[in-house]
Amino acid sequence: MKGRGAYLASRVGWALLTIFVVITFNFLLFRILPGDPARNVSKDPRLTPATVAALTERFGLDKPVLINTESGNPFDSQYFIYLGSLTRADLGISYAFRDRSVGEMLGGALVNTLWLILPAQILSIILGMLLGLLAAWRRGHALDLSALIFSLLMWSLPTFFLGIVLLFAGSAWFGLPTAGRITVGADFGSYWEELADIGRHLLMPTLAFTLVLLGEYMLIMRSSVIEVFSEDYILTAKAKGLTTLQIIRDHALRNAMLPMVTLIAINLGFTVSGAIQIESVFSWPGIGSLTVSAVRDRDYPVLQGAFLLLAIAVVIANLAADLVYGWLDPRVSEA
């Protein structure tokens, strides 16, 4: 019995298992690193042994890592306490910002990241697919060549370089802001004015990220469509007298979409990790910026939380891709 229900169940099961393995791996990863987080808060001699001990206890690092063999309760260990707090959606406190919870920090950053990345993703998917389709349709013509050169250029340009060029250009020629999400201290007359201000801040980072993603989508779409165009059934369709538009719409697009779905799913999954380079260049306070500063500060709980969020997003995006695959290509779920 290999029906659609079983396919769905097995995919979801694998996804849950993956997340659990990631949680455990994530937990262990930061504990096999050298150094003592309480002392790493600051390598400063004014941290007395009493302070280090107090911080160690506050961070919960005074307990055994995996299994507590000393007290009566084997589950009184860092690992099980971590699992327990995860079930309450509690990601712990930040080491670098000791009065802030990781959940609060990640939540705020995630919202900012989505503001930046979702529009860029959607724009680049639509534009990339259109451009790829056009290029494949006009294969060998000037349109194809220029689209190809443009996409290759965008794909190969280092992201931070494109970002900084756009930042300088936007600031010098169009008076666009150079950092942040909103003009601090500005007096907004209405909600719309505030939204417009955020839009001005978003313009260049969105453009930069769209251009970065666009090239890849275009190239994959183009080669995928070209491949489909060489199939026999397209020849048959032509022989039947269908117009190019009909061929693309009814026969080519659905099959050409398969590689695109994979790519989109992967990219969407990594969306929550933020566009690290774009966020850094434009000082956009998203997950990418937060991750960079957490690495710099060795803020393990924040990194652990960010990795978990990323893992869950990637797993969900892959799950979605699997399901869409099953719908686009029934052979997948019935195999």
């Binding site: 690193l33 050298p34 150094g35 002392r39 790493n40 808060v41 600051s42 390598k43 400063d44 001699p45 004014r46 941290l47 007395t48 042994p49 009493a50 302070t51 001990a53 107090a54 911080l55 506050r58 406190i93 670098a96 910002f97 000791r98 009065d99 802030r100 920090m105 705020g108 950053a109 900084i164 930042l167 300088f168 600031s171 010098a172 802001p177 150079t178 950092a179 942040g180 999400r181 601090v184 201290g185 966020e279 850094s280 260049v281 434009f282 000082s283 306070p285 910026s289 937060l290 960079v292 500063s293 710099r296 500060d297 060795r298």
Partner: protein, 564 residues
């Protein structure tokens, strides 16, 4: 602390808000407060900074960005001028009893918190006790830890007793940000307290902040001292240094607190931008740490393995290394000349504690070679590297040293390469390896599993902090990086700690620096300069020296006014 770019000592940001202390320095623009035309008031100053305050709670802060904020929003009993002098702030006066054990402090009577409540001796007592007794505050407990009893005599008088006389009462009071008792006394866990209202008594009031983005302050026009002339200060975080520089050039912001030395030329050529280069407040230093722990002092119980190269225990070898080091070349290449040659563990920003009377080893390659020849280190096998003495059990048999540095020092690889070339001239080889700071800490101390480490420190305004790294007692604690142990030095350290007379204490501190240089306990390639830049067409009256700068400090933000 060992300095990295993100974590700096509070001292780097700590300055007095006392305007009087700043009048001796002349701002580069003329329309100062004392000018004939009345200065324009108002205006929002936008400051581009690289980081973000790690906590609004003054007990929790680690980053210099946080201390900048505390200095603006809170008052401390005693202030520190940019040139390292202690001046009255909330405390009008302070004195010590004849036995040196009881300190009396008299506070100003007109200070109020931003919520309108009067600031009294009770608030200071509460703050001192909270900072002293909250052990999970990382830095704070170290300042009032010797204060045994603290009594508020009346609203403006306070007495503090210590078990032993102390020589650094002033430096212990410059980071005591006085917090309002009526708000904090109901806080159960002061470490978890986010202090989102941030009620202080300082020249600026906290308005709002957003994680990783900005902090916004408004001038406290009812300030008990001289109120700021500007209306608002906004600290905007720029993750990217190039973007920060561009924002200043384009006029998006009015001042930047830090930027790469490579941007100095660009900024000097930009219109309406003034670049200021000076020593940082308190200062920081680059050091080369030799592993010189005596095998007898190896802290085995603390994990010490003490694998240092035996030749480094010979002071002649260390002297030769110091003499063969061309500090100016390192400064020119690694810092683009924006630094000064280092001497000892006390940087120039510490005022008269800096030992200008101690002479350093002059750059002298042939002298260094002579020194090693005389000491018996000869290159017998002709491979260019001198061999060890027969009495030394060297791992490779010659003067080949392991050389590590943390990978978060941008100029680390260049500095290491230069040192390698310089030391090659005297028949010494180094094997360079960059390490993650955590890994470096784990081989450093108290493990002592290294030969030479290139690292750095940010200093406290009080020299006792960094002079303490060379004490015998600190070998097992991991604070001592070199493993140096000299009872004479330790005795001087104790003496400077209890010497109430400033000049006498300065003399002892100089003597200690002389010992550190004589014994080559550290090699200090340089003290890096601080670079800041501001727009001259927006605000005027920035305090730019003469020896140190901190444009983001109250000393500047409290006095600047809008250009008319």
């Amino acid at each position: 602390m060992r300095s990295s770019r993100s974590v700096l000592l509070p001292a780097l940001a700590a300055l007095s808000i006392i305007v009087a202390a700043c009048t001796s320095t002349s701002p580069s623009e003329s329309s100062g407060p004392s000018g004939s035309s009345a200065p324009a008031s108002g205006g929002t100053v936008r400051v581009g900074i690289g980081g973000f305050p790690d906590s609004l709670n003054p007990g929790n802060g680690l980053l210099s960005e946080s201390y900048t904020l505390y200095e603006l929003v809170y008052d401390t009993p005693i202030g520190l001028t940019p040139d390292g002098d202690y001046v009255p702030e909330l405390a009008k006066s302070w004195s010590v009893s004849d036995d040196g054990l009881t300190w009396s402090v008299e506070l100003v009577d007109n200070a109020t918190f931003h919520d309108g409540t009067a600031l009294t001796a009770e608030d200071l007592k509460f703050s001192l006790e909270l900072y002293r007794d909250t052990v999970d505050f990382p830095y704070m407990p170290a300042y009032p830890d010797v204060f045994e009893t603290i009594e508020a005599v009346d609203a403006t008088h306070l007495t503090i007793t210590t078990a032993e006389p102390i020589g650094n009462f002033e430096s212990r009071m410059v980071f005591i940000y006085v917090i309002p008792k009526h708000i904090w006394e109901s806080v159960d866990d002061p470490v978890a307290f986010q202090n989102e209202e941030m009620i202080g008594s300082g020249p600026f009031k906290f308005v709002e902040s957003e994680q990783g983005q900005f902090t916004r302050l408004a001038a406290n026009k009812d300030y008990w001292g001289d109120a700021p002339k500007i209306d608002e200060v906004i600290f905007q975080t720029y993750d990217n240094a190039d973007a920060r520089v561009a924002a200043l050039v384009n006029g998006d912001i009015d001042m930047i607190t830090e930027f790469p030395n490579t941007a100095v030329a660009t900024l000097r050529n930009a219109e309406n931008v003034e670049v200021v280069v000076a020593d940082p407040v308190s200062g920081d230093l680059r050091d080369i740490i030799p592993n010189i722990v005596d095998p007898e002092n190896c802290p085995v119980d603390e994990g010490g393995v003490c694998t240092g190269h035996p030749a480094l225990l010979d002071v002649q070898v260390r002297k030769a290394l110091a003499m063969a080091m061309d500090k100016q070349q390192i400064i020119d290449v690694a810092l683009l000349s924006l630094g000064s040659p280092g001497l000892s563990m006390v940087p120039r920003g510490l005022g008269d504690f800096f030992a200008d009377d101690v002479s350093d080893y002059a750059f002298d390659v042939s002298g260094a070679n002579d020194l090693l020849d005389t000491a018996g280190y000869a290159d017998t096998n002709g491979d260019g590297i001198r061999e060890c003495l027969p009495s030394q059990d060297c791992p490779t048999g010659d003067l080949t040293f392991r050389f590590n540095f943390p990978d978060d020092i941008d100029s680390g690889p260049r500095e290491a390469d230069m040192l390698k070339a310089m030391w090659q001239e005297i028949g010494v080889k180094i094997e360079i390896q960059a390490l993650d700071a955590d890994t470096l800490t784990s081989i450093c101390c108290p493990t002592f599993d290294f030969d030479l480490i290139l690292w750095g420190w940010g200093s406290d305004p009080d020299p006792a902090f960094l002079l303490g790294v060379a004490l015998c007692d600190e070998i097992p604690t991991g604070f001592s990086e070199t493993g140096y142990c000299n009872p004479d030095y330790d005795e001087l350290y104790v003496r400077q700690g209890v010497e109430p007379d400033h000049q006498a204490r300065v003399a002892i501190v100089h003597e200690m620096q002389q010992i550190l240089v004589d014994d080559v306990v550290y090699m200090i390639p340089y003290y890096a300069s601080s670079t800041q830049a501001y727009r001259s067409d927006r605000f005027t009256g920035w305090v730019t020296g003469p020896t140190t700068i901190g444009l983001e400090d109250p000393s500047s933000l409290g006095v600047i006014s809008k250009v008319q």
